[in-house]
Symmetry: C2
Subunit: 108 residues, 2 copies
């Protein structure tokens, strides 16, 4: 049985309090997941600082990403991807809430 | 320097004779790539039979995928993904040519 689905399925009809994460592949050294954001951002003063690399794509919606040591936010829209090396400290400063923002994240 | 780009950039303005492949990550056990198809399909009678697993997404456009032992083609559109286990024989029987079909393929 071949697993399949759609990244545009099971979206919230209105903004939610939390992000929704669906994991498609999870094995040592690789996780592929969809994250649906509806306005969430990284809490003020916090940074992601990950032990692994991450390739992340905005499938739909829009977001702003701040990478430490960069002068300002990066504006991301549909189709934009970023390769974040391990320990590249970053924060999501804004996500579009309606319609929600769909991310595809590959952690490796 | 953080690498970044857009899956919707550098698309052919008209159908090409061959598919275009851009590799974003290539290391042992993982390859992340964009493939742009403009009407290509797997040659008649040929099957993909891969040693590794593949998670593949149609980012834009449309395609038809045939998996051996399934009664017919799967219709894929924007946002549809399929997890193809190693040695799951499959063929692409059709891709939308205009606008082109954008795939994101993760081989692992």
């Amino acid at each position: 049985m071949v697993r399949a689905g759609s990244l545009h399925r099971n979206l919230p009809s209105r903004p939610l309090a939390c992000e929704i994460t669906d994991i498609f592949v999870d094995r040592p050294g690789l996780r592929i997941e969809r994250i649906v954001s509806s306005g969430q951002a990284t809490p003020e003063g916090e940074w992601y600082d990950q032990d692994g690399d991450e390739w992340v794509l905005v499938v739909a919606g829009a977001a702003r990403l701040r990478i430490e040591d960069e002068p300002g936010d990066r504006e991301l829209g549909s189709g934009d991807w970023v390769l974040l090396p391990a320990h590249c400290r970053h924060r999501v400063t804004w996500t579009q809430a309606e319609p929600p923002t769909i991310w595809l994240a590959i952690h490796f």
